[in-house]
């Protein structure tokens, strides 16, 4: 019992205060953000009813007025935002206007799809990029290093939709190995459903591979230049051992931090890849909800994305503190 209390008090000090401060800050950012987005969408011309009128010539002025009242659009913007905020605070996310469903029900599957897609490409990219970055850093300015750098920069520099279309052209159309887009239907299962993942994941992975490789290479190079590594080398430790046993831990600190930071952004979805591959994820959903003037859906989706980014950055800070004993928040 005593033991636990001691640990709690320890936790209570700077670290806990940091977390608390960051959480409060996150809430403030979210609040401001929600109002800003509400305002911005309000600045976008045409409300939902205007869009309906333009889509359906049969709507009369009476219809327009009735619908505006029905959707609460006859009230001023600030009041609508306040109303929205209060109902969100009470746990009611409201209904999506576009899909006539509770926002959470619309968001759920999209969130899941995005997580599956971006999560697997994130993991795959790390799996390939980290060894590649280390390998490049072990012999800087060698042909191997140049080649890896070139590949990395190529991944960063290619327009993503172009890459996606190229992959479709080669693997789906010319070779016919993989589906060109969409998700599996109910009767596809196991490998049948996995096939739909391959091309979008490959697109995203190639795009993020570059940045990850460069991070890892840079971090490793920096550590390999430190005195203690030189000492280890002088003592006759082999290059492989130096990297794995001496340098890796320190080199991982900035990399893990950046990865944690990036993890948060995964939840905004990948609009371009989702569009080309007809993947029903968050990116598309946010885009469609903004374009379709679906206030409730757009706001909640954006809030969710922002919140995840904030969580990611908090995570990054914590990992940083945890990994690097020299840093203490006072």
């Amino acid at each position: 019992m005593i033991d636990v209390r001691v640990r709690l008090t320890q936790f209570d000090s700077p670290m806990a205060r940091l977390i608390l401060a960051r959480l409060l800050q996150a809430v403030a950012v979210l609040l401001i953000m929600s109002f800003a987005v509400y305002g911005l969408i309000g600045l976008m011309p045409g409300d939902p009813i205007d869009l309906m009128i333009s889509a359906d010539p049969g709507l009369t002025p009476a219809d327009a007025a009735r619908l505006k009242a029905l959707y609460g659009l006859d009230q001023p913007l600030f009041q609508r935002w306040l109303h929205w905020l209060l109902s969100v605070a009470s746990g009611d996310l409201g209904y999506s206007r576009l899909y006539a469903k509770p926002v959470s029900e619309v968001l759920g599957p999209a969130f899941f799809n995005t997580l599956m897609l971006l999560g697997s490409s994130f993991l795959l990219s790390m799996f390939v990029a980290l060894p590649l970055g280390i390998w490049a850093a072990m012999r800087p300015n060698s042909p191997r290093d140049y080649l890896i750098n070139l590949t990395a920069f190529a991944g960063i520099s290619i327009p993503p939709f172009w890459l996606a279309l190229m992959l479709i052209a080669v693997f789906a159309v010319l070779l016919g190995w993989l589906p060109a887009g969409g998700v599996g239907i109910g009767s596809d299962n196991g490998l049948g459903a996995v096939r739909y993942f391959v091309l979008p994941v490959a697109t995203l992975t190639f795009a993020s591979l570059g940045a990850h490789t460069r991070f890892m290479r840079g971090a490793m190079l920096e550590v390999l230049g430190e005195d203690y590594i030189r000492t280890a080398r002088a003592k006759g430790v082999g290059p492989f051992r130096v990297v794995v046993y001496h340098a890796l831990r320190n080199a991982m600190i900035p990399v893990v931090t950046i990865l944690a930071l990036e993890f948060g952004t995964l939840f905004s979805g990948a609009l371009v890849t989702e569009t080309v591959f007809a993947w029903p994820g968050m990116g598309r959903l946010i885009f469609d909800s903004i374009m379709g003037n679906d206030f409730n859906l757009a706001l909640v989706a954006l809030m969710l994305a922002t919140a995840m980014t904030l969580v990611g950055s908090l995570l990054a800070d914590l990992i940083y503190t945890w990994l690097d004993p020299r840093i203490r928040y006072e």
Partner: protein
């Protein structure tokens, strides 16, 4: 290297497991996912397309653009006694129309499609809080008289020539939808089973029913055992939504989808290029239809209020060349909003010809002279500058727009392009008449649809009428107003045809709009898919889905 090898192995393994599609399955690609499936709440092309396979409207226009019964047994008319004129309490003339529902029509759960559903749908349609967007149709029906389970009479508050048309009246099942509606009509649009449980068999009575929906991706349809008509060939139909047309084409080539529907498919020049390369495997059918591409002129602009300037603009553009060169002649040039395929079309109405000399002359008459820089200017030296807007990101329109701009510039008119995303363009710029010059977009309509909302002077959007109406030009001509009123009420076809001729002549004379062409839809089918008949109007080809079949 090893990772690459592993990747290749996985790809190969996945390739081998490629799902072999059965021959009684059809995958259709369209560019839009229906956001809701309720038949009446709003209108959206993708929804109309999908619902056409699972439900049937009472009446439709067929491929020859004549009105037919689908859910009703025979078309009522004054001649056959199915419709009777009557006088209303306030002295106006109304009409009572009697329909007979198909005797064997049953919802997917076995319940008969009955007059209970008719009355219930009418109730929802008129309820101010039900969320049904366009209520005009339901309000025009004063009363419904029920004769047993399968027959009913509608009492309408006015007599228009299309009194027998009941296409917009889409039934919802009373036995399933009554409860969510009656519990709280204001919440109905969210509680309806079409939203809560769209795979409920009892919601559909067409040849197919919906068995799976994945929002933003696809809808799966399977044969409906209670369907009363011809047994459809395909056991299962998957409708996939792929918004990016380049990706849509790739999916077609890779065999992921079989057929791209013309209603929501490839752009025409994409289809033309596709046809050239893959004509051996696919058949491309072009159907020009009632999608009327045109340019609205803002008549409040003093420059454009001058008929001579409008005529000059119209004569300066070579619409035939655009149609020939860009669209391989598949999109007929429009001379008014009436399509040449419509029976009311009058070929004798003078047509606008490409005539740059005449255009120059007209502009000179209107007081615009060439300045040293080659641009036209007015008497006090102000340049002839006109803003030209359309929807950003619509490639076909942007191409046409650039051709038009260059042809007008050649004449000395400084035409400035300013495009906006569709959301902004339709949501505000057009509806609130914030475009200062030209606005290019399209109307889609049914055969012989009266352009009242577009041309009547009561339909000019303004803040007092809540920006409703589609007369974005601000066109006012009492003669046109009279014609519109008269056409709607004229029951005699021959007399009506004369009125339509006058309307077309007036349209060509006043030029409130520069007509461009009628858009053609491209239906890209594999060689083995037969039976699809494009309609070219608002009623999609999928209304006759049971006639589609495979023939290798």
């Amino acid at each position: 290297m090893r990772a690459l090898l592993a990747f290749a192995t996985i790809v190969a393994a996945l390739a081998v497991t490629a799902h072999a599609r059965q021959s009684d399955e059809l995958v259709i690609g369209i560019t839009q996912y229906p956001s809701t499936l309720h038949p009446n709440i709003d209108s959206m092309l993708a929804k109309t397309y999908v619902l056409a396979m699972v439900q049937r409207p009472f009446t439709v226009h067929d491929e020859d653009w004549t009105l037919q019964c689908l859910l009703c047994v025979s078309l009522p008319s004054l001649e056959n006694g199915g419709a009777k004129l009557e006088s209303l309490a306030d002295g106006r003339r109304g009409v009572a129309v009697t329909y007979e529902i198909q005797p064997d029509a049953r919802w997917g759960d076995g319940q008969p499609v009955s007059t209970r559903d008719v009355v219930f749908t009418w109730r929802i349609g008129r309820h101010p809080k039900s969320g049904v967007a366009a209520q005009e149709l339901y309000r025009r029906i004063l009363d419904i008289q029920v004769h047993g389970e399968k027959s009913f009479t509608l009492h309408q508050d006015r007599v228009t020539f299309d009194y027998a048309a009941l296409g917009g009246f889409r039934l919802v099942p009373e036995h399933l939808e009554r409860q969510p509606f009656e519990r709280d009509p204001g919440q109905y649009r969210q509680r309806t089973l079409y939203e809560v449980n769209p795979t409920e068999p009892g919601l559909y009575f067409g040849p197919y029913r919906i068995t799976e929906t994945v929002r933003g991706s696809h809808v799966v349809l399977e044969r409906n055992p209670t369907w009363y008509g011809k047994e459809p060939y395909f056991r299962r139909i998957v409708v996939r939504a792929i918004e990016n047309t380049a990706a849509l084409e790739a999916n077609l080539l890779s065999g992921e989808i079989d057929y791209v529907a013309g209603e929501l498919g490839l752009s025409l020049d994409q289809a033309l290029a596709f046809d050239k390369r893959h004509g051996d495997r696919f058949r491309v059918v072009y159907k020009p239809g009632l999608v009327y591409e045109h340019i609205d002129l803002n008549l409040a602009n003093p420059v454009l209020s001058d008929l001579r300037v409008r005529a000059a603009l119209a004569h300066a553009i070579d619409r035939r060349a655009i149609s020939e060169q860009l669209f391989a002649g598949k999109q007929p040039v429009a001379h008014s909003s009436v399509n040449p395929l419509d029976w009311i079309y009058d070929d004798s109405v003078p047509k606008l010809q490409y005539d740059p000399d005449k255009a120059e002359q007209l502009l000179r008459d209107a007081g615009w002279t060439k300045s040293p820089s080659g641009l036209l200017q007015g008497e006090d030296g102000q340049p002839l500058t006109i803003e030209f807007m359309t929807t950003a990101g619509n490639r076909s329109r942007e191409l046409v727009q650039q051709v038009l701009q260059s042809q007008w510039r050649a004449l000395g008119v400084d035409v400035r392009v300013r495009n906006e995303p569709a959301r902004v363009f339709f949501g505000q710029t057009l509806t609130q008449r914030r475009f200062s010059g030209l606005a290019m977009y399209a109307w889609i309509s049914a055969p012989e649809s009266v352009p009242r909302t577009v041309l009547h002077s009561n339909e000019i959007p303004n803040s007092d009428n809540g920006w409703s109406g589609q007369n974005y030009m601000g066109y006012r001509n009492p003669e046109m107003d009279e014609l519109l009123d008269a056409i709607e009420l004229e029951l005699d076809r021959d007399r009506r045809r004369l009125l339509w001729s006058r309307l077309q002549a007036l349209y060509a004379r006043d030029l409130p709009v520069i007509p461009l062409y009628f858009r053609a839809n491209a239906y890209v089918t594999p060689k083995w898919l037969r039976g699809i008949v494009p309609t070219g109007h608002l009623d999609p080809s999928s209304l006759w889905v049971e006639r589609w079949y495979r023939n290798d």
